[in-house]
């Protein structure tokens, strides 16, 4: 079996006395699209923030290409080829598109002086690549002046700047128009075609079903289900399972069995 590009093992995270994650394991293989599903507050965002190095897990292990890592941080996560498009997009609204795209990985010489011309050229190329161009704005435009979909475009452009192995998209279509959503899906298919892996987090189960090959359902900090698309059959089945999970009594009965 090929090595998992990333594997989280028995991850727990408590905020004070509240357990957000109670021992979750998740792995991603090269070239696969994983759909991460769960209700609000299930722990999806906490899990991907741990994956991105933003939140430190209370316990658990992280493996990159089969090797255990210590001192996991956002910079290390990105260096390992994991790019995350966060739900809030993680942009700096008063800065230019260029500065946002190169946030945290500025192109600079040995003494830290920026290669601004190359940054602008790269930003322009990226924006064309993902079909995100306009006569209204340029790479020097301020991100705060852009619409929601355009901001999502900047966040996505940043994620594909380097040849990432894994792109994590946290609710990428929330608050987007239909055409903007279609653009995001077009982008996901492009990434998949290029052989890179994706973790796709979404509320809309039809969307996730269309795009993912394997589904992980998270409920109250635990993995409630993990199945390949071939085992699920239809989006309806996923939805029914989610409705089942949402009923507290039934879940409790299930646990005692």
């Amino acid at each position: 079996m090929a090595k998992h590009i990333i594997e989280l093992k028995n991850i727990t995270k408590s905020f004070g006395s509240v357990y957000a994650l109670g021992g979750v394991s998740l792995h991603v293989d090269p070239g696969e699209v994983v759909g991460l599903i769960g209700d609000n507050g299930a722990g999806k965002s906490t899990l991907i923030k741990i994956l991105a190095g933003v939140i430190k897990p209370t316990s658990g292990e992280i493996f990159v290409n089969g090797e255990a890592v210590t001192q996991w941080s956002p910079a290390r996560s990105r260096a390992a080829g994991i790019e995350t498009v966060f739900q809030d997009r993680a942009l700096a609204p008063q800065q230019s598109i260029v500065r946002n795209i190169f946030m945290g990985r500025e192109l600079a010489g040995r003494f830290g002086w920026l290669h601004l011309k190359k940054e602008v050229a790269d930003a322009e190329r990226l924006m064309r690549e993902i079909g995100f161009t306009s006569k209204v704005f340029s790479p020097s435009s301020i991100v705060g002046q852009l619409s929601g979909g355009e901001r999502q475009g900047v966040a996505i452009a940043r994620a594909i700047l380097k040849q990432a192995n894994l792109i994590v998209l946290d609710e990428p279509t929330t608050a987007l128009s239909l055409t903007e959503t279609a653009k995001v899906f077009h982008f996901v298919r492009q990434v998949r075609a290029s052989g890179r892996s994706i973790v796709f987090i979404g509320h809309n189960i039809h969307h996730v079903y269309d795009i993912a090959e394997r589904f992980v359902v998270i409920d109250r900090g635990r993995v409630a289900m993990e199945k390949a698309k071939s085992e699920v059959g239809s989006a309806q089945e996923l939805i029914e399972f989610m409705e089942d999970v949402a009923r507290p009594q039934k879940a409790a009965v299930g646990e005692t069995v």
């Binding site: 991105a52 190095g53 933003v54 941080s73 956002p74 910079a75 996560s77 990105r78 995350t84 966060f86 809030d88 997009r89 993680a90 942009l91 700096a92 609204p93 008063q94 800065q95 500065r99 190169f102 946030m103 945290g104 990985r105 500025e106 600079a108 830290g112 002086w113 920026l114 601004l116 006569k135 704005f137 340029s138 790479p139 020097s140 435009s141 301020i142 991100v143 705060g144 002046q145 940043r158």
Partner: protein, 338 residues
């Protein structure tokens, strides 16, 4: 309009209007240019009010001797404010590092060694302040105010509030290099302008400046993208300490004397210069060049008001007036994007 666009099209094909050099320059520097306009308008008013006094070079030379001290602290303070913090401890840092300078010179060492010692002490004090604020999770406004009092207190305790005269500076190579005149122009102004230019480059074209912007704009995003937010903030305070040390060294060299109050008078003018120059108080954006022009404006107010023939009592009134008018002007120039 469309005809113009067509006629320009071949030459600037593919270039977005906002990417054209002149327009790009104007957009990028509009706050600094606004500050410059305020300064020019003020000088014009002074000149019209009293042409005789304001055509006298001596008046400008006097400002050019004291302005550099403010510039060494205004430019780094722009970094601090852009990072979303504020540093009110720099006057005491200036006093303390120049005290080290005065001690080392008095002890008979070469002034260059004294300068190096003062810079190291300034950086260390600034960095300690930054560490306290950042890793202690304190409000920089209050914590640095506290440090300013405490450090000034230490200065007064260890010197018994006595000044230190260092006349031996007069013949030194360091004095000739940093504190003499060139064709009647005080040489400090060249050094301080060099420093401002360096700061402006650091601010717009260096990774440090980029991180300062990002941290002040949205620290959570910067952190998520791998920028070391706390370390960037701590470095900003260290940089402020270096600026304060430079200011202290130059100020002591001008006077041949270190005063226990050294730096005290700069607290409000430097802070005012940053905001008059067009750096907004909320962080994320700012302008070093604007800050320098702000310092120029602020240091001319006193000279100007007296030069026009008004009594010294008017100075404070005009300080306030210029600050408020500048803020109103910048208000129309700045939109805060969230």
């Amino acid at each position: 309009m469309s005809d113009i666009a067509k006629s320009n099209a071949p030459a600037l094909a593919g270039l977005h209007p906002a990417e054209r050099p002149i327009r790009k320059f104007l957009i990028a520097n509009r706050a600094a240019l606004g500050s410059l306009a305020v300064f020019v308008a003020m000088i014009l008013i002074f000149f019209v009010a009293n042409p005789r006094v304001f055509s006298n070079w001596g008046l400008y030379a006097a400002v050019l001797t004291t302005l550099p001290v403010a510039l060494f602290m205004t430019a780094p303070q722009v970094f601090v404010v852009t990072s979303g913090e504020i540093d009110l401890s720099f006057p005491a840092t200036m006093g303390f590092s120049s005290l080290v300078f005065a001690y080392v010179v008095s002890a008979g060492y070469d002034p260059f060694i004294a300068i190096a010692a003062a810079l190291v002490v300034g950086a260390a004090v600034g960095f300690s302040v930054g560490t306290l604020v950042v890793y202690g999770g304190l409000s920089s406004l209050v914590a640095t105010l506290g440090v300013n009092f405490m450090l000034r207190g230490i200065i007064l305790i260890i010197t018994n509030s006595k000044s230190i005269a260092i006349p031996q500076l007069a013949d030194s190579a360091a004095f000739n290099l940093f504190s003499s005149d060139v064709f009647g122009i005080p040489v400090q102004i060249f050094w301080s302008l060099l420093f401002v230019g360096f700061c402006a480059m650091l601010y717009t074209r260096h990774r440090f400046g980029a991180h300062v912007h990002l941290v002040g704009d949205n620290p959570d995003s910067a952190n998520e993208m791998g920028v070391n937010v706390n370390w960037t903030r701590a470095k900003v305070f260290g940089f402020m300490g270096i600026g304060a040390a430079l200011a202290g060294i130059f100020s002591t060299m001008i006077n041949f004397t270190w005063w226990p109050t050294s730096g005290d008078g700069y607290l409000l003018p430097v802070i005012a210069s940053v905001f008059v120059g067009g750096t907004p108080p909320w962080g994320g954006i700012g302008t070093v060049l604007g800050g320098a022009i702000g310092a120029l404006t602020v240091s001319f107010i006193q000279t100007g008001v007296v030069g026009v023939g008004l009594s010294g009592f008017y100075v404070q009134f005009f300080y306030g007036l210029i600050i408020i008018l500048s803020l109103l002007g910048h208000r129309f120039n700045q939109t805060r994007y969230r």
